[in-house]
Amino acid sequence: MTSAQTLLDKLWARHEIRLREDGTSLLWVDRHLVHEGSHHGFAKLAARGLPVAEPGLTFAVVDHYAPVRNRDSIGDPDIARMIRTLEENAAHHGLRLFGLRDPAQGIVHVLGPEQGLTLPGLLITCGDSHTSTHGALGALAFGIGATQVAHVLATQTVWQRKPKAMRITINGPLGVGVSAKDIALNWISRLGTEGARGHAVEYAGSTVRGLSIEGRMTLCNLSIEGGARFGMVAPDDKTLAYVAGRPFAPPPDQWDQAVADWAGLRTDEDAAFDRDVTLDAREIAPTVSWGTSPDQALPIDASLPDPSALPAEQAAAARAALEYMGLSAGRPLAGTPVDQVFLGSCTNARIEDLRLAAAVLAGRRAKVPGLVSPGSALVGKQAEAEGLAEIFVAAGLDWVASGCSLCVGMNGETVAAGKRCASSTNRNFRGRQGLGARTHLMSPAMVAAAAVAGELTDARPMLEGRI
């Protein structure tokens, strides 16, 4: 007799080599993605004189430090060194490198699915907490630290305790101009940054089924901001259509076998979750973060919180966040002037994100400067072919190359102290975009609307008749 299983149970069982008495599993890793930040992991490997166990399953991507302008002359020696170190490690260990000049270069969590490296049923690790993104295709994907990176490089396995299972079901139609980003900010603001800690989140329900694969990636990407290391969506026909024909996808002679193998990757009808949460998509409005933690977010038509009206344990944090952000308690969120915008990152820089932003910007001018960085060079190429890049440039925004860029401020681009940035990224932590920078997280449509208005504003009226 086999009892009903969750998608997590099935993915876990597929990869479990051994379950130790103490409850930790040794898991096989199908894909290990490394980037410049993995230098500590490579250094640990070198210190032991070990080779990479599976160079054919290890893929290197230049993204975190990738300059998005003037790539041919990198001025900052630290940035140049970080990129060179990855190039050298990839060459030394015989890894496929998606380097700065590769036509497919991009952010690791955009590139993986785009290249067909991310497949249903695979276990994927990367030294980056947003690795949960890949779960959108029905993979078991999670971020790991440098010691674990070294461990995967050396053994192609990882020790991990199985998380608890949590399901977030979202049903109903999404409003026009409301996207996966708003769903994510909505649940995180309701449940808090620890709402899903210790859990793997499976996203289910009619709204999730209705999302494109890109939208599902955005949803899974932000799992970590709600505390979950894993996010996943069961594969369906959309997943198959997305994967088919991609460069590293199963070749035609293995395709049918692969599809058959993936067919069972869904939660059984009667399977029980440790936690079940249900949301109504109709209640979700465009959502914007106002503070310095991703759960400090509100619908665009709301007013900023008044710390004196909050429970004591939240009041101090809210007061500190308002002060850092230069905002006054109780004022409406809409109308807050912004200094600049950023459209990019592994959260929201895929083609449909750029399409939505372009729908807002077409025929309009941005009142503030901004950067548009596609999630990958291929997304960039497609955006140029579709005329989206032209729209961004005509609006007065800078259209640049692909990389993490202003999401994390490692490539030389930063937001200056005290400046306010409307951003399609994932973290509004103090200083994330630069020392003293003030970040507001929101969807690409909302970023575009903020650019046009020069202030935080509802994108929906600007989208009327356009999508």
């Binding site: 080599i17 051994r18 103490d22 409850g23 930790t24 040794l26 096989w28 199908d30 230098h39 500590h40 250094a43 032991r48 054919g56 430090y65 630290d78 060194r81 490296l117 497949l119 695979l122 030294g127 980056d128 907490s129 690795t131 971020g143 790991i144 630290g145 440098a146 010691t147 674990q148 050396a154 053994t155 192609q156 396995t157 020790w159 305790r161 940054t193 620890e194 800690r197 970590i224 505390g227 290391r229 024909g245 460069p247 590293f248 996808a249 199963p250 070749p251 293995q254 193998d261 933690s293 944090a317 994390v408 401020g409 490692m410 973290r427 932590f429 103090r430 200083g431 994330r432 020392l435």
Partner: protein, 201 residues
């Protein structure tokens, strides 16, 4: 890495929640090789003024030599950067006491001999009120003792405790599993050949 089971040291308070990894080590310091040490960059932008000098008003700066940190909930949330743990370890911190931790951070901490001691909210607040204060930590007993105060318990999974106490390195442990890994790999190659992409198409 050397294991440890007991520690006596000075505990400093960091009365903040959601101390994320970007606070623990800002991104701009992350290209530094570990050999140079990360300790000076710990909590850089919270501890220092815009001129880079230590801010005397910041509580942590009033306890030089502290080897234990007491904080509020969700300590170490955010990115997977292990450099956040390096910054703590290189600054001489052996344990962080808080009501909860970011998952990836807690795992990284264990891998570097840093104890993430999970206590109740009440216990964390009680300790914050006492800080700075000397205290003693006993991993096996899962206890924190401050002179003249009731002993406090903390939570830590058994396998994490074993690793900390023995200073074990997973790579050595895993290499003992090589035959099982090889058998799994051979099975996988037969069952799911597409896991190894042939060539790009």
């Amino acid at each position: 890495m050397a294991g440890w089971s007991r520690h006596d040291g000075l505990a400093a308070g960091l009365a903040l929640e959601n101390v994320d990894t970007d606070q623990l080590i800002p991104a701009r310091f992350m290209s530094i090789p570990r050999s140079e040490g990360y300790g000076d960059h710990l909590l850089h932008d919270l501890r220092r003024g815009s001129d880079g000098a230590l801010d005397p008003a910041f509580a942590l700066n009033q306890s030089p030599g502290a080897s234990v940190l007491i904080a509020r909930r969700n300590f170490g949330c955010g990115s997977s950067r292990e450099a956040a743990v390096y910054a703590l370890v290189d600054a001489g911190i052996r344990a962080v006491i808080a009501p909860s931790f970011g998952d990836i951070f807690a795992g990284n901490a264990i891998n570097n001999g840093l104890l993430p001691a999970q206590v109740s909210v009440e216990a964390a607040e009680a300790l914050l009120a006492l800080a700075p204060c000397p205290l003693a930590i006993d991993i096996a007993a899962r206890q924190i003792a401050v002179a003249g105060q009731p002993v406090l318990g903390f939570e830590l999974a058994d396998q994490a405790a074993t690793k900390l106490e023995n200073g074990w390195d997973d790579i050595d442990l895993t290499r003992a599993e090589a035959p099982q890994i090889a058998a799994y790999r051979a099975r996988l190659q037969g069952q799911r050949p597409w896991v190894w992409p042939q060539t790009e198409r």
